[in-house]
């Protein structure tokens, strides 16, 4: 059974078992969204009329008072009838990269660091996305979905690059991507999703940027940093890659080569637990504080474990980066 979901004067069809956000994004109607797990609150909106089932909306993200006041999380709520929605705050018109379901073919699997794989997925049709966005993979046989950032730039639209870290006991990694997945396999994916991407080129003033990735949190930054430098080759960009030990580092050659092409780009790997010659020691967020005396006017990009992201926000603010210029990937990897 489907219902009409109206937002900003546009009406889309939404199945009774489908999240409001999912229906809108598939129809090319953009609304703010980020983690698609019900935890970040970015997609919170007003239900102007009609009723919704809040599904598994966590009470930490959507309080009882908010539910009573007609708020809902678009990524979790399902319609119980025709509904009219109003996004929070300004609902500036934005082009949406429509959410699509696709079947991708595994082109290549390579072990690039300790417990870390690069997986290349070929598409029959190009995917429209912004560098930094993510896709969901459907774990065969389980119905579970897992989110992985794209390391691609937007023009690399027919072969998606994912960086995957092994989660011991994890249904997607331990049970599939690191065990059994082979070149030529078909994979069901949906995407693109998320708001972790650069502004449109016309609004990108070429200002300085700092990006900090923890582990495979490097992936979206690889796409973002290449896009940013191509737009403004002279811009100042610092990319920190934080890992525990040297054997978890990857893509060092690729990024060092990039630094050779762009004189104001610096790539700084940082080892937190297992020091090695020639590498910075400690946490990448501390390295940033040591290296950059003021980040006024900078934008900041954080992707990695929650503790690293929190430390990054504090570090950026300590160097007086305006909080509205701090971007963070909000989805968090699933536990085992």
């Amino acid at each position: 059974m489907t219902f009409a979901v109206t937002v900003g004067g546009r009406s889309v069809e939404c199945d009774q078992d489908q999240a409001l956000l999912d229906a809108c994004l598939r129809a090319g109607v953009w609304m703010p969204n980020s983690c698609n797990q019900g935890t970040c609150g970015t997609c919170k909106l007003h239900v102007v009329s009609g009723e919704v089932d809040h599904g598994s909306s966590p009470v930490e993200t959507l309080s009882d008072e908010e539910r009573c006041a007609g708020m809902a999380l678009a990524c979790q709520a399902r319609p119980r009838g025709d509904v009219e929605l109003r996004p929070q705050g300004t609902s500036a018109a934005r082009t949406a990269n429509p959410l699509r379901d696709m079947v991708a073919t595994v082109r290549e699997i390579s072990d690039i660091a300790r417990d870390t794989r690069r997986i290349l997925l070929g598409l029959n049709e190009p995917l429209t996305f912004d560098a930094g966005q993510y896709v969901e993979l459907v774990v065969p046989g389980s119905g579970e979905r897992r989110q992985y950032s794209l390391a691609n730039t937007a023009d690399e639209d027919k072969e998606l690059e994912l960086h995957v870290k092994l989660v011991p006991g994890g249904v997607a990694t331990h049970g599939w991507l690191f065990d059994g997945l082979a070149a030529g396999d078909e994979v069901d994916i949906s995407g693109p999703l998320g708001d972790f991407h650069l502004p449109p080129e016309s609004e990108d003033d070429g200002g300085p940027m700092v990006l900090i990735g923890g582990g495979t949190g490097l992936a979206p930054l690889v796409g973002i940093v290449r896009t940013a430098l191509r737009r403004h080759p002279e811009r100042e960009v610092v990319l920190y890659h934080g890992v525990r030990g040297e054997d978890e580092l990857y893509d060092g050659d690729r990024l060092t080569e990039l630094a050779g092409q762009y004189p104001n780009f610096r790539f700084v790997p940082v080892l937190s637990h297992e020091p090695a010659d020639g590498y910075r020691e400690g946490f990448p967020t501390d390295a940033f504080v040591e290296d950059v005396s003021t980040a006024r006017g900078w934008t900041g990009w954080l992707c990695g474990p929650p503790a690293m992201v929190e430390a990054g926000v504090k570090a950026f603010k300590r160097r007086r980066m305006a909080p509205r210029n701090i971007h963070r990937e909000k989805f968090t990897p699933a536990d085992a």
Binding site: G89, T294, R296, K317, R318, R320, M321, P323
Partner: protein, 407 residues
Amino acid sequence: MTTTERPDLSWLDEVTMADLERNPYATYERLRAEAPLAYVPVLGSYVASTEEVCREIATSPDFEAVITPAGGRTFGHPAVIGVNGDVHADLRTMIEPALQPAEVDRWIDDLVRPIARRYLEQFENDGQAELVAQFCEPVSVRSLGDLLGLQDVESDKLREWFAKLNRSFTNAAMTSDGEFANPEGFVEGDEAKAEIRSIVDPLIDEWIEQPDDSAISHWLHDGMPPGQTRDREYIYPTIYVYLLGAMQEPGHGMASTLVGLFSRPEQLEEVVDDPTLVPRAIAEGVRWTSPIWSATARISTKPVTVAGVDLPEGTAVMMSYGSANHDTGRYEAPTTYDLHRPPLPHLAFGAGNHACAGIYFANHTMRIALEELFEAIPNLERDTREGVEFWGWGFRGPTSLHATWEV
């Protein structure tokens, strides 16, 4: 109930103005518990202290506005806060066009944001500041001063004026004979008014001949027949209302909000990270420490019984909104600043047909100022080497607020 059954309120005889100005909360907490409508000898007036009684009187058809005695001595007549009927309607019609939300939205950002940035630029790289004197008060007076047409009056002069008018307006102590207990307390207010007239009179002369888009020019001309302007003596008391309350209180509201947020570092961080929370932080800030704490009054227009007290016609009641906003009947732990408190309506801007006309302007001035402050200094912390003292019974806020940050 008759007055003979009421609790013994003789403890009120001991209450002094100095006590109330230093910290009115203990006295008013006891009033709320024992006598939400009570005669307070030092003020020579009845006082309403609970949310319910304040709201009942502020919206009652059996009461109308009256200015407090010290307020009337300071502002003269007809001040918009103390008049009724046609004169009140005319004064509200005079001031309201510039304060309508749709009108304020048209220019508030362009007015306040550059002013806030300008003051921030003067200290943002110092690593420390006294935010009341260096930011909250200057942004407040400069924004309103420019709106009124007082661009040429220095911010420090506008700050000096509101402080002097404030002390005069709240020089409320009365003798048992109904006389002002400290008549000399009005002298500095009189001096400020003389200086204001010496500066504003020539501007009014100009605006009469050459109207411009400043608020006071509009007050002179709007709604008047061609060739006529409102008499300056008629609008001066309302100019003083602006030069005191409207100049001072956005600064108080910002500073109190900051002190409240500093008391909850995790909530400060939330607001810094998400500027859409700034309006909510301010709403809680002005509930927590209401800038207009006890500065307005009502008078009964016929014999009336309120909160079990029989009041004859012509009885003045002071509205203690700062106390009402700490009413435990309405707020849990009201002395605590809590961004996440259920956002019940509060009385910081009053109620009824004399509710603050500048609520929208003030809220947005405070919002933009704090947005700019947190944008420029996201690592702001209270300087714990310095204490924070609040002062004031009629108008209340921190007297200073020292902050530090890493540069």
